[in-house]
Symmetry: C2
């Protein structure tokens, strides 16, 4: 394993400190318990909005700290690589950012995350609700999951709910939008290589040069099956087909404009992500679907995995409006 | 070699097509000859500005096409991976975007790029000038270079010159600012792994798990020396020292605020880039330097290399102003 690290135990604190330094205009960092909020100096505690909080294991950067800021998250609770954060982090974060209208947790559906956020929810003194993201259509139940996994679609949920919260919408309204976006979103990933968890020091799984892991999770969890490596277009066709089969199986009407997100897992060149976009866009066009919003890049990573995921979000007027609204975070910024 | 590609010969066209589709609000693509301009539909041909054009081999994405748009480039001429573009591309791009005030080429100092842009410069019917970027302090002369290489500092040159050009400044003024930013900028890179050029199908160089290539180029060219892998902070200290030794050797007064750019080469997790930022910021603080602007991410890549570069730009009022000004491109966006 070759990584830019000092001591394995210090990776999280050092990386978070670098993030907070580089973006001191946007975020403030608290260590022990670890959480980040919008910068206290320049963005005084907002009132009259639902506080939007997410969190999870590290290794998926820029998720979630990279999405703290106007129009998106109020706080994030990062834990060690691929480990769940603990309730003390969520409670401290909630205490720091709540503004009288309750707290909405956005939680990717993994057993550890769900359990810890549930404990925090029960212990929290004020009104709160949770949106569980479960956009990964690759598998039902998995290594760390009961039910579908939450993956890159989480970014779209956080963007839309964050936008709605800025308007002063109620906690139930924010939760309802988050649930709707999650339902209208489906993702599937593929790995060319494994990720390497620093504390483990070796690749999470073995994979030959002739193989790919179709439906891989963002922690390197097994997907649907080990398949033969082949041309990009054939891989992408299978992924797009899986997404639309999933919408069909869930009786979701796909007759709408779509947001297409091509997400890199950390080690995939942008050149290849745009090539994937090109193929996916062609395949969607053939089915008569119109892509009206796009996002291409590393938005929900699996440390240093070579691989990518495709996410399709079925837009409606409300989702499109909240996707388009101004956002100012380290990883997503437009309109301000 | 495992990559998301179809046929090796089609990578460039497919990737560029995906880029142009995903950012159709920002760019328009011309194939044969290959060049991209600001989107024709929404941004009608600007008048009364110097046209800023860059280009070079692909594999460094988002450089350069990702920097086309308001406040930065007017056009970019990408060639195949690590190959120089040809004069017909620059001439066609210049013809498409010139607006009566001349053309400024921003060219990374590699022999092939320099030769081809020089030919274009001579053939061009209207006034033009060139800024050669040469911020890499690792080596003098290299595999593809006479003199210092142009690397990630090129992004800062493109941002500042692009900003000045929007004000209607003259061609000599734009060239002068570009040259000044280049002189006040120094970079050095380090590789943990080699990149793999698709057409070659195998890593450009061999490197063991116990080694790093200090001073590596963005095409995988040799750097200063092969060194032992060690803790991040020790590596980063050597890099920061090299940068300040370079400023000193060039008699550049470093008594100023700085912009610190931590650039990933394509396969380095964001978590590690922020850890590098943390160490570099600490080292700069110890020397009494104040970092007032930061950029962390994949901005000038070497395909799928694991590695990173550190760039320090010595700010003055003019450079800071043009760095801060609004920019709207695929890869850099703020203020609009």
């Amino acid at each position: 394993m070759k990584k830019f690290i000092n001591k394995t135990d210090d990776i999280l604190a050092e990386s978070l400190s670098g993030f907070a330094l580089a973006h001191s205009d946007l975020v403030s960092l608290n260590l022990n318990p670890n959480f980040l909020t919008r910068a206290k100096k320049k963005q005084p505690k907002t009132t009259n909005k639902v506080a939007i909080i997410s969190g999870g294991g590290s290794g998926h950067e820029p998720l979630h700290a990279g999405y703290i800021g106007y129009g998106m998250l109020d706080a994030a609770c990062p834990s060690h690589v691929f480990s769940s954060p603990t309730p003390d982090q969520m409670l401290a974060a909630a205490e720091a950012v709540h503004a009288g209208m309750g707290v909405l947790f956005i939680v990717k559906n993994y057993a550890g995350d769900v359990m810890n956020f549930e404990m925090a929810s029960e212990m929290l003194a004020f009104e709160n609700a949770t949106v569980l993201t479960s956009d990964d259509c690759a598998v039902i139940n998995s290594t760390y999951t009961t039910g579908r996994r939450g993956v890159a679609g989480t970014v779209i949920v956080e963007k839309c709910v964050g936008s709605l919260a800025e308007t002063g919408a109620s906690l139930p309204a924010c939760k309802a939008l988050g649930d709707k976006v999650n339902i209208r979103t489906a993702s599937i990933g593929v790995a060319l290589t494994s990720c390497t968890v620093p504390a483990a020091g070796r690749p999470t799984f073995d994979i030959s040069d002739a193989e790919i892991e179709m439906g891989v999770g963002i922690h390197g969890e097994p997907g649907r099956k080990r398949e033969a490596m082949r041309e990009a277009e054939a891989i992408i066709k299978d992924m797009v087909d899986a997404i639309f089969a999933d919408f069909k199986a869930r009786n979701i009407n796909t007759n709408s404009e779509v947001l297409l997100l091509i997400n890199g897992f950390g080690a995939t060149p942008l050149m290849e992500l745009y090539l994937i976009y090109n193929s996916a866009a062609k395949l969607l066009a053939e089915t008569g679907l119109k892509i009206t919003r796009s996002l291409v890049g590393n938005y929900t990573t699996a440390i240093d995995m070579a691989g990518a995921s495709i996410t399709v979000c079925l837009l409606d007027d409300e989702i499109r409006q909240h996707w388009d609204s101004p956002v100012h975070t380290a990883a997503l910024r437009w309109g301000c």
